[in-house]
Point group: C2
Chain length 303, copies 2
Amino acid sequence: MGAAWAVAFARAGHAVALFDSSSEQIHKHALPHAHRTLDLLSRAGFLEEGTGRVLARIDVAGSIADAVAEADYVQESVREDVAIKRDVFSEIAAHARPDTVLASSTSAIRGSEFLGHISHPERALVAHPVNPPSLIPLVEICATNRTHADVVSRTKDFLTEIGMTPVVVRKEIDGFLLNRLQYTLVAEALHLVGEGYCSAEDIDLIITDGLAPRWASIGPFAVAHLNSSGGFLGFVDQLGPMMKRIGQDARTDYPWDMDLARTIHAALAERIPVSDIPEHQDRRDAQILAARKIRRPAKLQQR
Amino acid sequence: MGAAWAVAFARAGHAVALFDSSSEQIHKHALPHAHRTLDLLSRAGFLEEGTGRVLARIDVAGSIADAVAEADYVQESVREDVAIKRDVFSEIAAHARPDTVLASSTSAIRGSEFLGHISHPERALVAHPVNPPSLIPLVEICATNRTHADVVSRTKDFLTEIGMTPVVVRKEIDGFLLNRLQYTLVAEALHLVGEGYCSAEDIDLIITDGLAPRWASIGPFAVAHLNSSGGFLGFVDQLGPMMKRIGQDARTDYPWDMDLARTIHAALAERIPVSDIPEHQDRRDAQILAARKIRRPAKLQQR
């Protein structure tokens, strides 16, 4: 995750200092990953300069202090463990400038649980990316109960400037927004598979061949707006009762168990053996970039 | 909808007889729509022959009897009204061959409610497309309590042959599968917007810039499988508790009202005035076809 962020920052022209407590992690995994990702971005036409020039902007720091001392923006991506994150942010806060934005990649923990204790907590917030942020533009920004509003807007501006799509979560909520949408859908999918209405592969086909071709172009509210000559209100007038019925009928609390997970894993592993996962990741990544190209700058994309 | 189906069938080389009780509907709307759609498919490289040749395969029938007498496959797409559908299917069944597949496009009604009374009900089922089926391949096949298994497999084979992606719903369920997934996600989105966590536009961005770039390539179960070196089981071992928590926490029964719908409509109409909807539909349609091109035949897509 840190390597993918490094690519996102360096690609936009920024100098990056990368730090990990394991030097092996940096040299055996992070830097080679950054290199491969930049090659992919280059092949797909997402780089305006050579891979080597971008890579040269990524330096390895010898300590947290070294990494953050000169930084305008810090992005933490350590393990999802409150105690570890608290310690890492204490260290970051002690060495970063008081006006530097301190952002956490957490997807699972509210920022207020590990960002409130540091010096100048008003400069710290969550900037939760989608894996990998080198390829997918969306970032969820979420202030803690101590973050200054100005830090939220500086973070939003910075992420926009480097080509990301920041969305501000206005109040802290578990799972933020993207994972709530994703796993609410997955929860109903587990209900449908668990109760024998279809297979997990059917669910995947319904998304790739049914819903995603529209959603890669426009989001679900815009889908409804364009599906009625009266716009969203016209759609709701006609189909609101159906929307309500499905919402009430959804079984997102379905008690799926590891037996169901094993069945789904076995079916997936038949299509994609675990040993072939890296190769399929490469194809997925290339297709993610292809999907990003289908929209051209247009009114629909302006904020 | 009928016109879009006609395009899907004719594009694959089949002769189509189109019938509507309103001849004006056929000549002012259905045929011009088929023409425009074929032009779009042609520009996007989805036609192997000229628009005119495909269009020439679509005939207008003078009655239901004329339309279905010689047909191997009948696709009904009338209004979502049980009484109307029952009447139309009585008429179709009286004139079609007993071995002809009789399919309904219904998205809202269980087939058993309007297909059981006809002669030879074993030949009738639901084939629910995504709007428009001329552009989006997914179709949900759902048998009634009287459909013969052989008719399900013949329908699946036929839809596969014409380039669609059929998925068989194994037991009747309200909303079938695609709309359950879609509106379960939308229900949680309405909760998030209604409770002030974000705007409807933020939801749309989270989908287009966050979730859809992956989902246009691989479905949600495959996303999890590729996000862990241990595959789906490895993912669930690590993130299962988070998945469960979000499913339990989702508020898909959120009691949204017309005030919220009006607020969302107003925000959408600022980006896309209702008068501009047709122009945005055209862009959406072109982008749907672009999204379909990002996947090349590969293991991931084989059934």
